[in-house]
């Protein structure tokens, strides 16, 4: 399981607006990569191109290559639905399905993809995914209650459980902790540490300590000004980025001296 991702010369557009320019990056399997950078520099945009979620927005387009174990996911004849089955995603805002119970939420991906599950298989998978997302103990007595009745942090972990229940190869997380308290944040960071044994994880975060704690490699994006495209400034080992980065721009951002 888990795949290597090679991003080659990726330009990303919203209509005519070039949001991100010339990204080059190689993400190793079974590693955690953090995207950091100021607001609006295109972190979410890059992340969303990795599972072809970018094109859901009307007018959005991409040029360049994203290779997953050597296969271009933007190649001719590639079905985005198949890509998304391999590359799961957790969003910034928790978004459990409001019509479904906790258990149904966890099983949604599997069920909606036409896989029939026996009752015991379903129970097993629910428990496994919820344990994986560090949520099992809190919800095991109320699996049949609506998922939207959980607290914000629990909902976010429910979404993580839902994403890992379909057993993707890669897991993308867009600021998964931005709405969470320190304890839930810690739970999710622990979870990311566990997930890296099985998955390739890419996480966007505004919290530098978090990037330093959870990631193996860090990508720093920056933007020259409004209306200009975002660029990948530096992609390096996390320890290097946070101790002595190659670029001065990175150093300034990390140390809080901006611009």
């Amino acid at each position: 399981m888990s795949k290597q991702i090679d991003i080659k010369d990726l330009d990303i557009f919203y209509g005519d607006f070039r949001a991100v320019d010339g990204v080059q990056m190689q993400i190793k399997p079974r590693s955690v990569t953090a995207f950091i950078g100021p607001s609006g520099c295109g972190k979410s945009t890059v992340l969303r191109t990795l599972n072809r979620m970018h094109e859901v927005i009307p007018g959005a387009s991409v040029s360049g290559e994203v290779l997953m174990d050597g296969n271009d996911i933007y190649g001719a004849g590639v079905d985005p639905v198949n890509v998304r089955r391999e590359v799961g995603m957790v969003f910034q805002r928790a978004n459990p399905f409001p019509t479904m119970s906790i258990k149904e939420n966890v099983l949604a991906g599997v069920r909606l993809n036409n896989r029939r599950l026996s009752k015991s298989e379903a129970d097993d998978l629910t428990e496994r995914a919820l344990r994986g997302a560090n949520l099992w103990n809190e919800v095991k007595d109320r699996l049949n209650l609506p998922g939207s009745g959980l607290s914000g942090g629990q909902q976010q972990r429910l979404c993580i459980a839902r994403a890992i229940a379909v057993e993707p190869e890669v897991l993308l997380m867009d600021e998964p902790c931005s709405a969470l308290d320190p304890i839930s944040t810690l739970a999710i960071e622990d979870l990311i540490n566990d997930l890296k044994d099985k998955y390739t994880v890419v996480i966007v975060t505004h919290n530098m300590q978090q990037a330093a704690r959870v990631s193996d490699k860090t990508a720093f994006f920056n933007i020259a000004g409004t209306g200009k495209p975002g660029k990948l400034i530096e992609f390096n080992e996390t320890s290097t980025i946070f101790s002595n980065p190659d670029k001065e721009e990175t150093e300034n951002y990390i140390s809080g001296r901006f611009g």
């Binding site: 979620m53 009307p58 639905v81 998304r84 089955r85 805002r93 909606l112 939207s148 979404c159």
Partner: protein, 382 residues
């Protein structure tokens, strides 16, 4: 240290003024009742008797002035203006309720007096003027009935729903999920807007023209057989589809993009996301919109008259023969009573009873819409 001390002292010596004089809670009610009493008094003195419209208008005016005066004198100008605004809003609300309540009251009292189980289960089969004359003379009970019209209403409305709900809902799904504001989407939106404004009689004429042309082509000279319940259902669909499209479109746009993206991110195809995520999330809103559309067309008279004619007897067949609905029955009874002259009263009573049934049907539908919305709405509670 000293500074802190001084500050505290200053605060104690000059407490902030947060309270102000306020009239007791019951004041507006007392003023209102007093105004009504004064208005009644004036009505007796100036008009020599109790006159509801005069009392209502006078009471409203006196109340407004009195509230302002009392409040301004005691509470100050700002509160007085606030109170007068409240009074105006409340009075307007009561004014808006007057026609509504009096309509319901009239229908309930007139219809309630006339209605009976027999009226609900009999048709106008074999109805003669003499029966009504005997009824008005007090010799027999009210004859006839509108069972056929109830059946006609239910059948025609149901057929209209079967036609317009799928078309309306699917169109809305196309507009919201697939059109991306393309040319076709814009054209559909424009047409739907135009359709919303079509007078209902025109919809009826359209449906009749359509089916009589078809009948004429198939069997020359037989345009008349196009007057059927089904033609009426098509006419109602023309009125219903734009309402269903509009309501459904609005509800679908309320479904957060987040949910669709969450589903896509699990590798769920678009059509399945719509069927399994978007529609279940919005089903309560869609259904209550549909119910409102039904309530809107169930009372249509003109399009039924020109498409289904007036039947006096029971007809279960939507595809052949004339049919009556409750509105056309009411219209027909008032316009062409079975017996002319004084005995026309009997027809009028049947019409009121039918009106009561119609209003009750509409109210039940609205209630149903609310219940559906409650039961199917996504649950948020823990």
């Amino acid at each position: 240290m000293t500074t802190t001390h001084t500050t505290t002292e200053a605060a104690v010596s000059k407490p902030p003024k947060l309270t102000s004089k306020q009239l007791p809670k019951a004041t507006p009610w007392i003023v209102a009742i007093a105004s009504i009493l004064v208005a009644i008094l004036i009505s007796f003195i100036a008009f020599g008797g109790f006159n509801i419209p005069v009392v209502a208008v006078l009471a409203g005016l006196i109340n407004a002035i009195a509230v302002f005066a009392v409040s301004a004198a005691y509470e100050g100008r700002r509160k007085a203006v606030d109170r007068i605004a409240t009074t105006v809003v409340t009075s307007t609300f009561i004014l808006a309720c007057v026609p509504l309540i009096s309509l319901l009251w009239l229908t309930a009292s007139k219809g309630g007096a006339a209605i009976s189980g027999d009226l609900l289960t009999r048709t106008m089969l074999g109805m003669k003027g003499v029966l009504d004359q005997q009824y008005v003379a007090g010799e027999v009970t009210l004859a006839g009935g509108f069972y056929h019209a109830i059946v006609g209403t239910v059948l025609i409305t149901a057929a209209a729903c079967i036609i317009s709900i799928p078309i309306g809902v699917l169109t809305a799904i196309y507009l919201v999920e697939y059109s991306n504001k393309n040319r076709l989407g814009k054209a559909i939106t424009f047409l739907v807007d135009v359709m919303t404004g079509i007078p209902s009689i025109v919809a009826g004429l359209f449906a009749f023209a359509l089916f009589s042309t078809i009948a004429n082509v198939l069997m020359p000279g037989s345009a008349g057989i196009a007057k059927t319940g089904f033609t009426a259902a098509v006419a109602l669909s023309v009125l219903m589809i734009p309402i269903v499209v509009r309501n459904t479109e609005e509800i679908l746009r309320l479904v957060p993009m987040d949910l669709r993206e969450a589903s896509y991110a699990l590798g769920v195809p678009k059509w399945k996301t719509i069927v399994k995520i978007v529609l279940p999330t919005s089903v309560s809103g869609i259904l209550s919109g549909v119910t409102i559309a039904i309530a809107r067309v169930i009372g249509e008279t003109a399009p039924i008259m020109v498409t289904a004619g007036f039947a006096k007897t029971l007809n279960w067949n939507l595809f052949s023969g004339w049919m009556s609905t409750l509105p056309t029955f009411i219209y027909d009874s008032q316009l062409r009573p079975v017996s002319p002259g004084a005995a026309a009263l009997a027809s009028s009573e049947r019409a009121w009873a039918a009106a009561l049934v119609l209003v009750a049907l509409v109210m039940v539908l609205n209630l149903l819409a609310r219940i559906i919305a409650k039961v199917l709405a996504p649950k948020a509670g823990r």
